[in-house]
């Protein structure tokens, strides 16, 4: 394979200096511009009538010359495209040396000046740029390069929805890795879904006809949940006992008795939950995040209703029929 030479095929110079984007006929005079090259490439492009025959004909008369690097023409892209994302901001990067690990010849000169000139011409592209000093070798991936997020475009980047779901879930996955996730034999680990910001579950209490809802994402521990449950139901319990007992006042002066000991079986009530398999379980056995991922609803039971259990057992399944 031919190595890259310094010959520029004249097709690179097709964009004329004038403002109209019209390709004119070119002869091989351009070939001599580059180091007296004899190789020619004839390019004939002519505008023909619409609908008739070949509109543009491109003929090659000899071996193709490879595009050389760097290119010397000035691009004047005729920007008639308002949708060239004005929202994207690009900073002009300059580099003294362009990185070419595999090239045998080093590039003759950098494109810095050229690039700057081009930039000035394409102002309607609304690129913001700051001309950097010529001897700065800015590495592309350095954090100095600021890039604002492009506005999301429908269907871009072009990946199937299948992959989109994976991509959005990836950052959360990196954070939490639980080696013990599969400790639960029957239910496999949860799929990587986008986690919503709230998780409201119903909570009912023995003796209270109306249930409540509680957002589990608002808490990060069992203790906090227990406090919340206490606050939720304390007033209701008090009101209920007033109704039932005909106005016996309690110690707290009308606010209701604290509902304590929900988690350790020591209180009048105990907190249980129904999991994703439909089983009723004691709250508190598994790590909090695992609880949150399997819980479906909560219940505050009277402790007297529970059979005596040792809380050390792993499979804390209760077969209550209530």
């Amino acid at each position: 394979m031919e190595g890259y030479s310094r010959k520029d095929p004249q097709l690179l110079d097709l964009i004329p200096k004038d403002s109209e984007c019209f390709v004119a006929k070119r002869a091989e005079e351009e070939a001599t511009r580059h180091h007296g090259v004899s190789e020619e490439k004839k390019l004939e492009l002519s505008l023909g009538p619409p609908g008739g025959g070949d509109y543009w004909t491109i003929t090659k008369t000899s071996n193709e010359s490879l595009l050389s690097f760097p290119t010397y023409f000035s691009t004047n892209p005729c920007v008639k495209s308002p949708w060239q994302h004005q929202t994207f901001l690009h900073h002009l990067q300059s580099a003294a040396q362009l990185p070419l690990p595999a090239m045998k010849e080093s590039p003759p000169q950098p494109c810095t000046n050229r690039a700057a000139a081009v930039e000035l011409q394409s102002a309607e592209k609304k690129k913001a740029f700051s001309p950097a000093p010529a001897n700065t070798a800015v590495h592309n991936t350095s954090s100095a390069q600021k890039r604002t997020a492009p506005a999301p475009v429908v269907g871009w980047p072009p990946i199937r929805s299948f992959r989109k779901n994976i991509a959005t879930g990836s950052s959360s996955k990196l954070a939490s890795e639980s080696p013990n996730a599969a400790a639960d034999k029957d239910s496999g680990p949860k799929p990587a879904e986008n986690s919503p910001r709230t998780l409201f579950v119903k909570i009912n209490m023995d003796g209270i006809p109306i249930g409540r809802k509680v957002d589990l994402k608002a808490y990060n521990s069992y203790e906090k949940l227990a406090c919340a449950v206490d606050e939720l139901f304390r007033g209701l319990v008090a009101a209920q006992s007033e109704v039932c007992a005909g106005g016996i006042k309690d110690d707290e002066g009308g606010k209701g008795k604290v509902i304590g000991g929900l988690l350790d079986g020591s209180g009048e009530y105990t907190l249980v939950y129904e999991d994703n398999e439909g089983d009723r379980m004691l709250v508190g056995d598994v790590p909090w995040h695992m609880f949150v991922s399997t819980v479906r609803r909560l219940r505050v039971l009277k402790s007297s209703e529970l059979p005596r259990l040792s809380r050390g057992s792993k499979e804390g399944k209760l077969s209550l029929n209530a």
């Binding site: 394979m1 097709l11 097709l14 964009i15 984007c21 619409p50 609908g51 070949d54 509109y55 543009w56 004909t57 490879l66 595009l67 760097p70 290119t71 691009t75 892209p77 005729c78 920007v79 008639k80 949708w83 060239q84 994302h85 994207f88 690009h90 002009l92 990067q93 362009l98 990185p99 690990p101 595999a102 590039p107 810095t112 050229r114 081009v118 592309n140 991936t141 890039r147 997020a149 492009p150 999301p152 429908v154 269907g155 871009w156 072009p158 990946i159 199937r160 299948f162 994976i166 991509a167 959005t168 990836s170 950052s171 639980s178 080696p179 013990n180 996730a181 599969a182 496999g188 799929p191």
Partner: protein
């Protein structure tokens, strides 16, 4: 030639048929059928595999009339951009009429391969019950069915060898479809249900694997836990291709230890994928099989740090195909370049969709791979940025590209160093890679790049353009230059009526053209449709009022045209107009 032909005519048709048996490629068979009437006739009765690249180009009746002995049918439905949500859901591409027609006509169907088609449960049930020798079902990027349909296949296809579901949208109904494989089913060779989102009956799965001694390829879904995987591997150490489900466990546990031992015994595994959920501390379990891997797909596995990926890849010296997320980084690609000398295909998918995070690859990674992997011929590369210099280097290092798809996360980003358009870089690619058949371009691009493509990309069959070009000339360069072009898809580019109407005959030489958010008007589409009766010119109008006769000067939002032998399709929904 005349002498040859008269000699050949002395051969009885059985001989011709025997000779044609050696022709397996569709193109060869198509060519052969054009030679003369007798060859056409022999060929059509002997063809068993039919490929239809656009299901609306012909209809089932024609298929059956011409190839009555067809046993294997491949159909493609929706346009490619449907993968990226640019085509409305019920655009079309229904497989039911095909299955119905073949069933009615007693076709002995054994294999059905569908891509981007709508497959209903009814279709699957009809399929399962109509073809007693049915062996192989491959569905790629399809939708419209549920696990009930799969249950029908499992229950009824007594000789099923292959059930391969790739990236389909399946309504998972928590049924026990895996249990529907009868105990007598022992013929499975390939089972891939990785795209199913629901629970799998692990017990049924284990039994199935145990009795299918010919099983070579197994790809599990997310719901299959690691300990089930271990049991499966113990039953099926002969596997060639494994897709793990979830790869999460406590690495200090007994189950994990057993898994490691089971994996070691699977000496035939050459292709590995899955890791749909992964604990990276469990990854070392697969190191022993890495040495023989030729294909590795970690692109569904978020959350593996670059360092872990690198450790894994270091073991994979024989890799020919690698699909990975861009979390691997340029450094990781460096490692790929120095380790995987046999690499032919590389796909790097984005993990961070908006391109502002740290995870990403740049032009450096690509250059490194091109330098280290001389056999590279197929690329899909999602990157944060690109430069002309890099592309020119890549073109020089790898002149053998057949597929080159570059996707910058910012669709109109210029050369990251010079701020120029990326015309020169892609120009170098098409000039150097003389066998290039498929190209996707992105980044800031002017008409120039299309001039290069038209000039140099002589073998190009499929071209994808987005947010590129300046004027009609760009599209014209392509249409005039690329003689072998089959599929052209363009979005958000300033190509309009002049380009569209310049050479209307060209479209009959192509399979299809898609243009969305371009400058093409309603009037031009009508003109084209009038001139070319053997094209279906479809306009997709979504969300707009359906006007009786929209103004000819109105821009068309989405246009899809394709050559066809059977005229406008009758199953087009309201929002699709065939002009």
């Amino acid at each position: 030639m005349c002498l040859f032909q008269s000699v050949m005519n002395y051969f009885p048709e059985e001989v011709l048929e025997h000779v044609f048996d050696f022709l397996t490629s569709h193109r060869d068979r198509n060519a052969v059928s054009l030679v003369c009437k007798s060859w056409y006739s022999v060929e059509r009765f002997s063809r068993e595999k039919v490929f239809i690249g656009n299901c609306y180009a012909v209809d089932p009746e024609r298929l059956i009339a011409r190839f009555p002995r067809v046993r294997s049918l491949t159909l493609k439905g929706k346009p490619h951009f449907a993968d990226f949500n640019l085509v409305p859901h019920d655009w079309g591409g229904y497989v039911y009429p095909w299955i119905e027609a073949m069933a009615k006509n007693g076709i002995n169907l054994e294999e059905l391969r569908l891509k981007r088609m709508v497959v209903s449960d009814e279709s699957l049930e009809l399929l399962a019950k109509s073809f007693p020798n049915f062996k192989s079902l491959v569905l790629v990027s399809c939708d419209g069915f549920s696990t009930d349909g799969l249950a029908a296949i499992a229950s009824n296809c007594r000789f099923l060898r292959e059930l391969d579901l790739q990236e389909n949208e399946v309504d998972d109904r928590k049924g026990q479809w895996l249990s529907c494989f009868p105990d007598t089913c022992t013929s499975l060779v390939s089972l891939n249900f990785a795209c199913l989102k629901g629970e799998a009956s692990v017990a049924a799965l284990e039994r199935l694997v145990a009795r299918c001694r010919n099983l070579r390829s197994l790809r599990l879904n997310h719901a299959v836990p690691l300990d089930t995987l271990q049991k499966i591997l113990v039953q099926a150490p002969q596997l060639n291709d494994l897709g793990t489900g979830t790869f999460v466990h406590d690495p200090d546990s007994d189950a994990y230890c057993k898994l490691k031992n089971a994996i070691k015994k699977c000496k035939s595994i050459r292709s590995l994928s899955g890791f749909l959920d992964v604990n990276t501390r469990c990854l070392p379990a697969v190191y022993p099989i890495c040495t023989n891997l030729t294909s590795l797909n970690l692109s569904y596995a978020p959350g593996i740090y670059s360092s872990e990926l690198i450790k894994l890849i270091c073991h994979c010296k024989k890799l020919e195909r690698l699909w990975i997320l861009d979390t691997i980084g340029d450094k990781g690609l460096d490692v790929v370049a120095s380790t995987c000398k046999e690499l032919q295909e590389l796909r790097v998918f984005p993990s961070d969709l908006y391109g502002v995070g740290n995870a990403a690859v740049t032009e450096e990674g690509l250059v490194a791979v091109s330098a280290g992997c001389p056999k590279l011929n197929s690329l899909l590369y999602f990157c944060q940025q690109m430069t002309n210099a890099a592309l020119i280097t890549v073109a020089k290092n790898c002149p053998n590209f057949i597929r080159f798809r570059l996707c910058t996360l910012d669709p109109t980003i210029p050369d990251a160093v010079t701020n120029q358009p990326l015309d020169e870089g892609f120009g170098a690619i098409v000039q150097s890679c003389k066998g290039l058949k498929r190209l996707s371009v992105s980044g800031l691009l002017t008409d120039q790049v299309f001039l290069y493509i038209g000039m140099y990309a002589e073998q190009l069959e499929m071209l994808s353009i987005a947010f590129a070009g300046d004027s009609d000339k760009g599209m014209l360069y392509v249409l005039n230059g690329c003689k072998k072009l089959k599929k052209l898809e363009i979005r958000d580019s300033p190509f309009g009526n002049v380009a569209l109407l310049a050479d209307v005959g060209k479209y009959e030489t192509m399979r299809s053209l898609w243009m969305s958010s371009c400058e093409v008007t309603f009037g031009a589409c009508k003109t084209l449709a009038e001139k070319m009766p053997r094209l279906n010119v479809e306009i997709i109008n979504e969300g707009e009022q359906i006007e009786a006769s929209p103004d000819d000067r109105h821009r068309v939002e989405k246009m899809y045209l394709y050559r066809t032998l059977v005229g406008p399709r009758r199953d087009a929904p309201d929002f699709v107009w065939t002009l």
